[in-house]
């Protein structure tokens, strides 16, 4: 099953998003929160790399990020996690993670399909 890693500047935000998405995935999705850094607010390439390794069961990992250094640190973590195939989805972190969680539970899910579903969330409107 394709794994998900949630990278936010806040560890609590990453955990909360993973929690909501886990429910959407019916409890079967592999979602690992990797938020915050040693000092609190921030992102850590080491934490993200460990998250990727934990989320990967061999099928690969999609990484969801918030902004700024989260993107750079996720890219770096992917380069460091050389035994795992991982990609970043260019999607809003909460909605993207929910979409991706649902897609990973599909038998036909691929890395591409999970990224695509996550990125569908870019166009979601909340009113109307």
């Amino acid at each position: 099953m394709i794994g998900l890693v949630v990278v936010s500047h806040s560890a609590k935000a990453a955990e909360g998003i993973a929690e909501v998405a886990a429910q959407m995935g019916g409890g079967n999705a592999r979602i690992v929160p990797a938020g915050g850094d040693e000092d609190g607010i921030g992102t850590s390439p080491d934490r993200i790399r460990e998250g990727i390794e934990e989320a990967d069961d061999g099928d690969g990992v999609v990484v969801l990020v918030d902004l700024g250094s989260a993107v750079m640190n996720a890219e770096l973590a992917i380069e460091m996690a050389m035994d795992s195939e991982a990609v970043i989805a260019d999607a809003p972190i909460l909605e993207g993670t929910l979409n991706a969680a649902v897609e990973t539970t599909s038998k036909k899910a691929t890395l591409d399909s999970v990224v695509e579903r996550a990125e569908d969330a870019r166009d979601y409107r909340k009113l109307n």
Partner: protein, 232 residues
Amino acid sequence: MADAETQREAVLDALDNVAERLAEEKEYLTDLDSAIGDADHGANMERGFGKAADKREEFAEMEPNEVVKNVGTTLISNVGGASGPLYGGSIMFASQELEDGITAETSVAFAEAYLNKVKDRGGAQVGAKTMVDALVPAVHTYKKSVEQDDLPPLEALAKAVDAAERGVAFTVPIKAMKGRASFLDWRSVGHQDPGATSTLFILEELLETAEEYLDGEIDRDARAEDAVGRDE
């Protein structure tokens, strides 16, 4: 340059010099960063290079390129923010170019690989008020001085430092287009970029170290004149 052992000593000395300099400049870098950023650049750089310099014993048995690589990974784990991947990740990546040792040729390849990684990762071009504004003139000048002008590496590095200095000055009157400072829009004009400044400090310390290990002398008076463009 000399044998692997001397090269490793040079890298370790450079690391010590950079760590010491960034510790001295911690407050200055923090002041620059508090004007247009989040006031953590001085502390982040001091911590990261300090941790790397603390590993001198651990590095003492490694090949020179391995030392450089491990400096990169130590920075990745200890600098934080965007500077961790930009400085640490780029050093780690560029260290591949030093696998066959440190020569004039491989140092140019290292410098270019470092610059390209910073540009790829951060997405900044010249004129965005970032470390790229110091790096591009430094790396271009170094490459041209070594490859086309056949200057000895020490002289080439001195010219690169001068070029970086002008690049840092260039960040003052321009508007930030990348990073947190870009959120300030026009308010960023008139402030010197902290990343370009720490990049210059690192290059200055590399030059100081190179003077100990490489033949030749640098005419500091000529450098100063050259830096403000009075003398060609």
